[in-house]
Symmetry: C2
Subunit: 223 residues, 2 copies
DNA sequence: CACCATAAATCGTCCCATGATTCTAGTCTG
DNA sequence: CAGACTAGAATCATGGGACGATTTATGGTG
């Protein structure tokens, strides 16, 4: 009796978790919105309140949902990776996290040079221009945001959803960790270089794109 | 009343999750072992059964625990990253996952060249020798295992715990996905090259180490 | 209109009961 | 005595009800 795990997703709670996850992934419950109350979910799903609560609790721990006593349960994120990465990397050395980011971004730049479409190039040019404008304003918060947008655009041009999600999660963890400190540190002489990585991606030169991407984040230290 | 989140970890369930996670992380409940029964946890932790169940369910969804009806609850993994990555990457294109692995491994090789200790080099030599022995046996399963050990040793020499954990999780996801197919594909002419990456790490040449590491996984395709 | 007290809504915790599944121990049979 | 079968215990899965804590809505009062 080997009983495949297809017919019955084994436990009821797992089925409820799947249904809730689908609703969230499909965008029917957007980030920040309030999901139905527990009694409503009990009626909608046709299961007991304990089952609903265990499913909601599982997604809460995963960083997807967030319960507020007296108010309701809200959608916090669409994917579980961000929450787990934040917990893992939040308690760790920021330098190590930045090295992980560097790893992902360098490979993403290489892939982007091979796979970028005309649309990708248009988005990269737009992000680059927006970054220049943000630079001119002198507002570090605005600039950091625009800078992040450009980096995300580079990773998106790699056309690898897994890589993009991981990168976004790591970037979020870094933002949460240092927030302010990262801004000034990157404002030094890194302004001009960013045009060159876009150029390398446009030229379809993976090695040069990877080299340029690696230059953004200071060369790793020996310790 | 801004009520910092330190004094009370907000909800009871979260506190229970933390305590269970600590027990597991500390190795007091090893992987594969059975944790106390629900009534026992109720008494040990001094909380209600629903609270225990919600905490256990959260860790079950995270891939840390696994409940077996009629038998008990068992430890499945020590970290939550593996489970989440497996769920995310398991449903995705294996090629994309391999690209993520490549990203992590290339940067790890670069860092290893900068930070490797004598102990690291000893372990790398041992893993390289073990891989040669496994190659000689002709048993693909044994060889794939020894090959993975060498790659893990390279990543470990980078001395970046976050990078190492992520790499291990991605590697596990790849193993679970393809299992057999990966073996034959890598057996071609990649046998000799592995000595060169260890040599590059020993010489402390980060660029060469990165280049050699990138060579293991076939150059990414345009599509 | 502003402020405050009360009530309602909602999640958090606890307890009890029952079903489904697995493990254990004893018993029976050959 | 060995093996298999059965009855019971142990354990997790699910459902239901109750009460507390917190937030939100409501309405009254100056």
């Amino acid at each position: 009796m080997l009983r495949m795990t297809l017919g019955t997703r084994s436990t009821l709670v797992q089925q409820v978790i799947s249904r809730l996850s689908e609703q969230i992934a499909a965008g029917e419950w957007p980030v920040g919105s309030k999901i139905p109350t527990e009694p409503q979910l009990v009626e909608i799903l046709g299961v007991g309140r304990n089952t609903v609560r265990e499913a909601v609790r599982a997604l809460t721990h995963a960083g997807v949902l967030e319960g507020v006593q007296g108010s309701g349960t809200y959608v916090r994120s669409t994917d579980e990776l961000t929450g787990v990465v934040a917990r893992k990397f939040g308690a760790a050395d920021v330098g190590h996290t930045i090295e992980v980011r560097r790893a992902l971004e360098v490979e993403a730049a290489r892939l982007a040079a091979l796979r970028r479409t005309p649309d990708d190039l248009a988005r990269l040019d737009a992000a680059l221009a927006a970054r220049d404008v943000a630079w001119a304003t002198g507002d570090t918060d605005v600039f950091v945001e625009a800078d992040a947008d450009l980096h995300v655009a580079v990773v998106a041009a790699a056309h690898n959803p897994m890589l993009a999600e991981l990168y976004a999660s790591v970037l979020a963890a870094i933002k949460a960790s240092v927030a302010v400190a990262v801004g000034p540190a990157m404002l030094a002489g890194t302004h001009i270089d960013h045009a060159q990585i876009v150029a390398a991606i446009r030229d379809g030169d993976p090695d040069r794109a990877a080299r340029e991407a690696g230059r953004f984040l200071e060369a790793p230290a020996r310790a």
